[in-house]
Amino acid sequence: MKILKYILLLGIVSIFASCSEDSLDSESIFKDEKTTPNALDTWLSDNYTSPFNIRFNYRYVDIESDREYNLVPAEYDKSVALAKIIKYLWLDAYVEVTANADPSFMQTYCPKVIQLIGSAAWNDDGSRILGQAEGGLKITLYEVNAIDLNNINVETMNDLWFHTMHHEFAHILHQNKLYSTDFKLITGSTYNSAGWTDYSNTDAHHLGYITNYASSEPNEDFVELVSMYVTHTEAWWQAMLADAKQAQISASAYASYANGGTKLPDNASLKTVTGQDAEGNDVTLYYLYYGGDEKIKQKFEIVTKYFINSWGFKLSDLRDIVQRRSESLDSLDLTSL
């Protein structure tokens, strides 16, 4: 019986041994698309892919694009300009600010795919998407064909793209290193994920948010503070804080609020300030006081500490760099590669 078992075992082993497969084909079935590199391809390879491992898709790539929308590709010349602007105004700004703290910062954390789209992504209701980010890996920028190469306007570009890029990149950062939970407590009772579109930006300022979208939830609040701060000047920042603090009203409006003829907003109180005008006459100014500026300042203090402690640089330094580069954008050659 034992012999029979051994024979059986031997038979099975032999059979399996005879069943060897052919060696695998050394060529992968997944091929990279082969196109002869043009000047932009080479420039992108040298400036995005090799140093940062970023794939910069200026050509329309079906599988990287949102097929829910009707889109068209970006123009070649405008892609050249935007590739250079993104590097100068966004990528190199972070490289510069982190040069001492972590020279490999951008290589480690930057999104790995940037996809350009020529047209807007229109929704049926007439709204449109300016930029999209997916899981910290890919950023899609729309309306590239709207760039006027003869009239580069930084403010327009901030609205269209750079606000989105700083916003999404800040998400990547806080997902890697958490910020203080104290942040969420400052305006914790007024986040409104479903109804934030009902607020104007001024409404949001009064509640202690830098934009209406910031009031949707704490993480958006955090990254909106970062992106709005970095892409705006100090003068804009102070004007925003002033707007968040109070709103001037007429004496009659003040009286109507005071005597109950008009209902006072839940988050406001009445305030007067007396002083003298330029000719030395006594004047009284009337306000609805909201105090949103204090909440924004408290949250922003946590944001600035987070960047120093977690990433080793000051957000104000990043803003200075971005603003300096914005001012010198005119000198950037946006056509030759």
Binding site: F16, K31, T36, R59, Y60, Y76, A120
Partner: protein
């Protein structure tokens, strides 16, 4: 012992059967190699035509002709519909693997992508789809002379035909443009199997539209029911050198599994487009009716020559009585609300499901922050036994804004009150202007134009 031997035998047989290491090779190369070689072939074919290709490009509603030439990864395009035929635009293209070989025009080409660029919803001439053409195409078949493509997104069938080296693009586009003009006519009559297709059918806007009335027969018909039903369909058409063709074949038999009507040849002498598909007896005749019948069948809008929103407001090409009617509307209905009459036009009803009227009279006003559109419906009929008189009737409010513009309705009412009108057009082939003079009071007259 026997049991063990049988077990061994069964086991060995089973394992040997499952262990057939050799497979019959159907193809000489792996799938990846074949796709790669296929893509290379397609690029060589595309770039192998030194004078490029004639492309039939279909949008959501119409077809058109575009010239394209491929060289060194770049594509040059030219058309005659959106741009002048002597303009060219260059961009990049690729042939990639995406579930099959795909030809993609993957950087923006001002001419080619004009047919797919999305438009802001609510824009006067489109929606967020734009014209709805594709710019990425699955290559269904290819040869040195013809390449058949299917759009990746909208799945529209397109065709590339090799451009002869001896013919210039200007000559080819000119020939297509001529055929495009030949297709145009105020009215059409469709004949199928020798009989006039009942209803109204047209080729306007490079779209073959057939609105056929069909008698209702059979057991379902009971007393009091309608005796006929409307069977409608439309097919984008594209001019060809001989005439035109539809994107896909169609049939007048609803249960026909293999429709065959697709290609038409133009006969300039008889003004007919005759179907050349085998076994099909069909032709389409261009009809040039008198002015009153042509206006009764318009499929366009015609505009009053006025614009109170212009820097120097004007109301031209109308009698003083009509100017006064517009001024009354402006003064009473618009000025108090900061509005200015920007445009006024009349013509067909493009959406009968939305506006319950035969024809539409439309006013657009503008304000500093936007504007309003008020729409009235009306009917118009050619006066029997005349070829130059029409009668307006049945003015109705066709949208919710209309109620705010009684002055606009008064203009429509004047059309009714001063009917019949003598009507004339600038040309019978493709009327661009219609002039109306009241037969009741000649001081009421106006002209409208495309």
């Amino acid at each position: 012992m026997k049991k063990i031997i049988y077990s061994c035998l069964i086991l060995a047989t089973t394992l040997f059967v499952g262990c057939t290491p050799e497979q019959d090779e159907i193809f000489d190369e792996s799938a990846a190699q074949r796709i790669e070689s296929n893509i290379k072939d397609i690029v060589e074919t595309l770039e192998g035509s030194p004078n490029g290709w004639q492309m039939d490009l279909f949008t959501g509603t119409f077809g058109t002709n575009v010239m394209v030439k491929f060289a060194d990864g770049k594509v040059t395009a030219s058309d005659y519909l959106v741009h002048d035929a002597d303009e060219q635009s260059e961009s990049l293209y690729s042939v990639i693997q995406n579930g099959g070989p795909v030809l993609t025009f993957n950087t923006f080409n001002e001419i080619f992508h004009a047919y797919s660029d999305p438009i802001e919803p609510g824009a006067s001439y489109g929606n967020n789809e734009g014209l709805g053409a594709d710019f990425e195409f699955v290559v269904l078949s290819y040869s040195q002379d013809e390449i058949i493509l299917r759009g990746l997104k909208h799945r529209r069938l397109c065709r590339l035909v090799r451009q002869p080296e001896t013919t210039t693009w200007a000559e080819t586009l000119g020939a297509y443009q001529t055929m495009q003009s030949n297709i145009g006519a105020p009215m059409y009559e469709f004949y199928y199997n020798g009989e006039l297709v009942p209803g109204t059918s047209s080729l306007s806007g490079n779209s073959l539209v057939s609105n056929r009335t069909e008698a209702i027969t059979g057991d379902d018909v009971t007393e009091g029911d309608a005796t006929e039903k409307l069977v409608s369909f439309s097919r984008p058409i594209v001019p060809t050198m001989e005439g035109f063709r539809t994107e896909t074949p169609f049939s007048y038999t609803s249960d026909d599994p293999n429709p065959t009507i697709q290609h038409f040849k133009y006969d300039a002498e008889s003004l007919r487009f005759v179907c050349t598909d085998e076994g099909v007896d069909m032709y389409i005749v261009k009809v040039y009716p008198p002015a009153n019948v042509a206006f009764e069948n318009v499929t366009d809008f015609y505009y009053f020559n006025l614009d109170f929103a212009a820097e120097n407001a004007y109301a031209n090409d109308m009698s003083n009585a009509f100017v006064q009617l517009f001024l009354t509307m402006q003064t009473n209905d618009c000025s108090p609300y900061g509005e200015l009459i920007h445009r006024a036009f009349m013509g067909y009803n493009p959406d009968p499901s939305k506006y319950k009227a035969d024809f539409l009279l439309v006013y657009q006003t503008s304000t500093s922050s936007g504007g309003y559109t008020s729409i009235f419906g009306y009917s118009v009929d050619a006066v029997p036994d005349t070829d130059d008189q029409v009668k307006f009737s049945n003015i109705t409010e066709a949208n919710s804004n209309a109620g705010y513009y009684p002055g606009g309705k008064a203009i429509g009412k004047a059309l009714v009150d001063y009917s019949p009108w003598t009507i004339s057009y600038d040309n019978e082939v493709s009327p661009n202007e219609y002039t109306f003079v009241s037969t009741k009071d000649a001081s009421y007259s106006f002209k409208i134009s495309k």
